[in-house]
């Protein structure tokens, strides 16, 4: 087990190097001079330009810039943003917000998605199943920004149940509406997955055997059908959590949530190389760790899976 984890972590190193290099290269290759752009309409004196370039190592060739950046990361130095704030500080502020948002969204998906999927699967072809098939098709078809704007308008402005924007330092209940919007993206998938899984498990021989032992339906459904059906669903949810953790750019943008997604978006617009690369590096790391956790979770859920060595 420990060996398996160690091997997976070692595998993460080339992935991390590859992704950071690619991102760094793409930011480097973006058109326009970020330093000049920083000054907007004004024309800065050449000495100032030189000083800024030197400070951010922008006068060095690409590969030297990348290696310097890499060396910094290994020393725990994620660089400094153009506004002079250390990137690690920005990360420390934005990640907790995104974490809260992601947890809320996954909880909503889980409670509603699994419940509706279970009922649909148990009553396959019934009216409940058919209605939620339509609902999930609609939700799958709608782009998230449409859902976000409609939700903002209806629940925020017309009904006034929620604040329309979140902003820095907002209480957690302000995150509920963006979390619901985020949850709609995967909600339909969870319903479909749970439903299919419940139908599949319900037809298994061991379910019939459980009934032949004299167990009641009330016991068979949670213990023999739902428990087995949850294996793929829970792993999907965990991956989904990883996706949400690395930022929901559009939703965070619309609701002005000061999280990872919005900050990254702004950094890309400004061409802030170090900020973008540092954020992405941390995101890749989180994503790798969550994927590893998903695989370990799989072994917990399914006793047949054991990781050798």
């Amino acid at each position: 087990m420990a060996g398996y984890i160690a091997r997976r972590l070692l595998q993460a190193i080339p992935v991390l190097l590859g992704t950071t290099f690619l991102i760094y290269f793409m930011v480097f290759a973006m058109p326009g001079d970020p330093v000049v752009a920083l000054f907007g309409d004004k024309t800065p004196p050449p000495q100032v330009l030189e000083a800024v370039r030197e400070r951010y190592n922008l006068d060095q060739p690409f590969i030297v810039q990348y290696l310097l950046f890499l060396a910094g990361i290994f020393q725990g130095d994620f660089g400094v943003s153009f506004s002079g704030q250390p990137v690690s500080e920005i990360l420390a502020v934005t990640f907790p917000v995104t974490l809260q948002l992601a947890i809320l969204a996954v909880l909503i998906e889980m409670v509603f998605g699994i419940t509706i999927g279970l009922v649909s699967g148990l009553r396959k072809g019934g009216i409940f199943d058919a209605s939620f098939l339509v609902v999930s098709l609609i939700l799958i078809s709608l782009p998230v920004f449409v859902v976000a704007f409609v939700a903002q308008f209806v629940f925020g402005i017309q009904l006034g149940w929620f604040r329309t924007t979140v902003g820095p330092g907002a209480p957690i209940q302000d995150l509920i509406l963006p979390a619901i919007v985020l949850a709609t993206i995967s909600f339909a998938q969870i319903v479909r997955l749970t439903r299919a899984s419940v139908i599949d498990t319900g037809g298994q021989d061991f379910v019939r055997t459980a009934a032949s032992k004299g167990l009641s339906r009330r016991r068979i459904v949670p213990v023999h059908i739902l428990r087995n059906s949850l294996i793929p669903v829970v792993t999907y949810l965990a991956v989904d959590f990883g996706v949400l953790m690395v930022g929901a750019t559009v939703t965070e943008g619309i609701f002005n949530v000061p999280g990872v997604g919005r900050t990254l978006y702004q950094a890309i617009i400004r061409g802030e190389g170090p900020t973008v690369v540092s954020f992405v590096t941390v995101m890749v790391l989180i994503y790798l760790v969550i994927n590893l956790l998903v695989d370990l979770l799989y072994a917990v859920l399914d006793p047949r899976i054991r990781y050798a060595k």
Partner: protein
């Protein structure tokens, strides 16, 4: 004792005449709703079963025997529903019982042992958990300690001696035989009056099957449990049950005491079944073959025509002649000290095949017999070069297989063709029959379109299938037809050697008999050499000239078929022979 066709009562001579039967099925009808409308799977079945008796329902797949069993406990799959008749258990009509009443009856009054031990235990719960919940649900014991103690008792009773240690283990840590014991334990956990065993051992090796059935028999006798057996194996049914009910296409065609039915089958279908059962047929070679020997037919054909006879004696004689002729020629296959070692992570090496040597004379059949895990299929894979050889030699047609590369190997493949076990898995569902059969011709660039088409027709004729099948797809065919297609495909390139890996194991007895005869005919006609791999010793006797018995990767006994059957020298071979169901039954002359 009288036995009449269609829906006759099973008649008993009970000790005290007027005793009420434990289970009485009257005119049972079960329908399934499909897209094409209602299909009646069980049609007017009558069965009477008295306390302490054992009764077996025999039939091929689709005969409605399992559906009848599931109807009794009202756990019919999918759209199945009881549309008529009565199921009286101790006078209570189960067909009219509510869900709640059935929950009380299941487990407590009727125990059920399902067919496939691999799929009938929930993989995510421990063995202990699954046995304990059965005990708790039936109110046999309460309190953690009592329930646990009862679980251990039940499992020990079912033959799991180290039950207390193994309660925490999961199903995948148990072998098939052990799982079946767990299922039997669960079925008997609440001391039911009636135990329904639905093909309880058909997924197991013969020796394991025997041990389990012996145990089940003594256990039910000890507890006084009434036993209802469902099986496709006539020999097994006759050996294990006092009464037989033969089902065909949803109807009872014959019923009565087991031996009587075997010795004097009345209904033509039963006659065919008795004739085709390999375990019984093997005895028939030397015992009694009357002129009225029964026939093998397409399962759908009219029951009762006897023009098409399996003449086992003639087959055996032809075999002997071929055998003599073959002695003069060099052997088709020589295997010397063949060894295969698999590297298993964490637990070192595993020797699947250990210094195996044998020769197959041209135009003859050698059977490789053994239980699962004995290495017989690995030998086949190495012969086909689907698996690398660790050490040893394989010489085919005078050439060392290891020395062949590229073109030579490609040519060899055309002379050596496989037929695999599962006719459902070995045909590509997206290719029609014509394309499936002609595929090897295309791969080896034999002939042009027209000649390939002609060859496909010729092959369909050879395997006795209508030419109209060319444009059909595998899912439209029965298992037996599919296996014929697989054989036609193997013969397409006019091979000299055909490797048959459990090629008839997945088929119903009657279909199995047809395919075996087809193989024998083709061998005589085309001078084919067969390597026949099987776990079923009963089949071996009808098809093979020589037998190699494998155990744990080694050949423990190798001799001519008749010698092996008449004078087995190894204890293991004796065990295998003794385990053939029905082998000890004396069929009256």
């Amino acid at each position: 004792m009288t036995s009449t066709v269609n829906g006759s009562d099973v008649q008993h001579t009970t000790p005290d005449g007027e005793e009420q039967p434990l289970l009485e099925i009257k005119d049972l009808k079960v329908d399934f709703t499909t897209q094409e409308g209602k299909v009646t799977a069980v049609d007017g079945v009558n069965i009477t079963l008295y306390r302490g008796q054992s009764l077996a329902i025999v039939g091929e797949s689709g005969s409605g025997k399992s559906t009848t069993a599931h109807a009794i406990i009202k756990l019919l799959p999918g759209s199945g529903e009881i549309s008529g008749g009565q199921i009286l258990l101790d006078g209570q009509d189960l067909a009219k019982s509510s869900k709640k009443e059935m929950e009380d009856i299941r487990g407590r009054k009727i125990g059920f042992v399902p067919q496939d031990p691999m799929s009938n235990l929930n993989p995510v719960w421990s063995i202990g958990f699954q046995v304990e919940e059965a005990i708790r649900a039936n109110g046999i014991a309460t309190g953690r300690k009592e329930v646990r103690a009862r679980a251990i008792e039940v499992l020990k009773q079912a033959g799991l001696q180290d039950a207390d240690r193994r309660l925490k283990q999961f199903p995948h840590q148990f072998s098939g035989g052990m799982r079946q014991r767990v299922l039997i334990g669960m079925g008997l956990a609440a001391d039911p009056q009636l135990l329904i065993a639905d093909e309880p051992t058909s997924a197991l090796d013969v020796t394991v099957q025997r041990v389990i059935l012996d145990h089940l028999e003594s256990l039910t006798r000890e507890l006084g449990t009434t036993l209802l057996f469902i099986t496709h194996d006539l020999g097994l049914a006759a050996e294990r049950a006092e009464q037989l009910v033969v089902m065909y296409k949803g109807k009872v065609v014959e019923s009565g005491p087991s031996l009587e039915i075997l010795q004097n089958p009345q209904h033509p279908y039963t006659q065919r079944l008795v004739a085709a059962a390999p375990s019984l047929a093997s005895r028939r070679i030397k015992s009694t073959i009357h002129g009225q020997d029964a026939a093998a037919h397409e399962p759908g054909a009219e029951v009762g025509t006897t023009t098409d006879t399996i003449d086992l004696i003639a087959t055996a004689e032809a075999r002997a002649e071929a055998h003599e002729a073959a002695a003069a020629q060099p052997p088709a296959i020589v295997v010397e000290d063949l060894t295969k070692v698999f590297k298993i992570r964490g637990s070192g090496d595993f020797t699947a095949v250990d210094k195996v040597s044998f020769e197959i004379p041209k135009g003859t059949t050698t059977a490789l017999v053994g239980e699962s895990g004995s290495g017989k299929s690995t030998v086949a894979k190495m012969l086909l070069k689907l698996e690398d050889v660790t050490s040893g030699k394989i010489i085919v047609g005078g050439k060392d297989l290891a020395s062949l590369t590229g073109k030579e190997l490609f040519d060899l493949r055309s002379r050596m063709q496989p037929v695999f076990q599962d006719p459902y898995g070995s045909l590509n569902p997206l290719r029609n029959i014509g394309n499936t059969i002609s595929e090897p011709l295309v791969t080896h660039s034999v002939g042009d379109r027209a000649s390939r088409r002609a060859r496909v027709f010729e092959l369909l004729d050879q395997v006795s299938l209508p030419r109209t099948l060319v444009g059909r797809y595998p899912n439209e065919l029965s298992g037996g037809q599919r296996q014929r297609i697989a054989i036609a495909r193997a013969l397409a390139l006019k091979p000299e050697i055909v490797i048959l890996d459990e090629a008839v194991s997945a088929l119903d007895v009657l279909v199995q008999a047809q395919i075996l005869r087809l193989l024998a005919d083709l061998q005589a006609e085309l001078d084919l050499t067969y390597l026949f791999i099987t776990h079923d010793l009963a089949v071996v006797r009808v098809i093979a000239d020589n037998v190699c018995v494998m155990q744990k990767g080694r050949i423990v006994e190798a001799a001519a078929t008749d010698d092996v059957f008449e004078n087995p020298t190894e204890q293991y071979t004796k065990d295998l022979l003794a385990a053939i169901p029905g082998a000890n039954l004396q069929l009256g002359a």
